[in-house]
Amino acid sequence: MNPLLNEVPIAWYLLLSATLFCLGVIGFLIKRNLITVFMSIELMLNAVNLSFVTFAHEWHAVKGQIFVFFVMMVAAAEAAVGLAIIIAIFRARATLAVDRIDLMKL
């Protein structure tokens, strides 16, 4: 088999991670539903995790992977609390559209 097929430049992984992060930011800006905005945040967290794993592989550092483990744990806690907040908002305002949840907007 062609040896070129057996390796991928590290830069490609990092570019994929950067692209996913930027797609997450764009989603955060254009989505008008509270739940999808929250999903875009999860997408950004995942993109950053990918670059952590890539650098851990590149420099043979186990601690990079452990950092990803902690990010996952914190993200799980964040998802639980965030979704509870979304439920509380829906109870109070009966809507999920971010345009109508503007009580704290300047």
Partner: protein, 176 residues
């Protein structure tokens, strides 16, 4: 083989992420996010992180996304209305996204000494990972469990608050 797998699952990742942006119904967005997270698990496996690949599927594609889909069903979230959004988002947000991406891509492409990842580079076994985690980083690990406990309490307190006031509203007239 590595290149083929990388291109395939990177394409899945990007397609899922773009589909997340294009769909107007939250449940479709949630399902595309599951595609993104599962493809990322395969990419972790290609990079030799076997434990993280398993944790990604269990924690993200499993637990977190099930929570998301439950909330979408519970709140009966419908089709979102597309509006133009705020002026600040359009004027500052999108140019800065492009700028951030350009900066990151330039730095990555000009970074010296970035090698290539192969399939034969060896994997970080769960044993290596647990040795570092339970010897050097035991305190952060235990603190994380406290964080999760607090998150559970916070979620229950937040989600049951409305229910409690509804009960009080019913009970108050009856008490008088």
């Amino acid at each position: 083989m590595h290149l083929v797998l990388f291109l395939l699952f990177a394409a899945f990742c990007l397609a899922g992420a773009i589909n997340l942006l294009l769909q107007t119904h939250p449940i479709n967005s949630a399902l595309s996010l599951i595609v993104v997270m599962t493809s990322l698990a395969v990419l972790y496996l290609l990079l030799g992180a076997e434990f993280l690949a398993a944790a990604q599927i269990i924690v993200y594609s499993g637990a977190v996304m099930v929570l998301f889909t439950f909330v979408v069903m519970l709140l009966n979230a419908g089709r979102e209305e597309r509006t133009l959004g705020s002026h600040v988002a359009r004027a500052v947000g999108f140019p800065s996204v492009v700028a951030i991406f350009a900066v990151i891509a330039t730095v990555i492409l000009h970074a010296p000494g970035l090698g290539a990842a192969g399939l034969n580079d060896g994997i970080t076994s769960t044993e290596d990972l647990s040795k570092v985690l339970f010897h050097e980083l035991l305190l952060p690990f235990e603190v994380t469990s406290v964080l999760i406990l607090i998150a559970i309490l916070g979620a229950v307190a937040l989600a049951s608050k409305g229910l409690g006031t509804a009960h009080e509203r019913e009970e108050r007239p009856a008490g008088k």
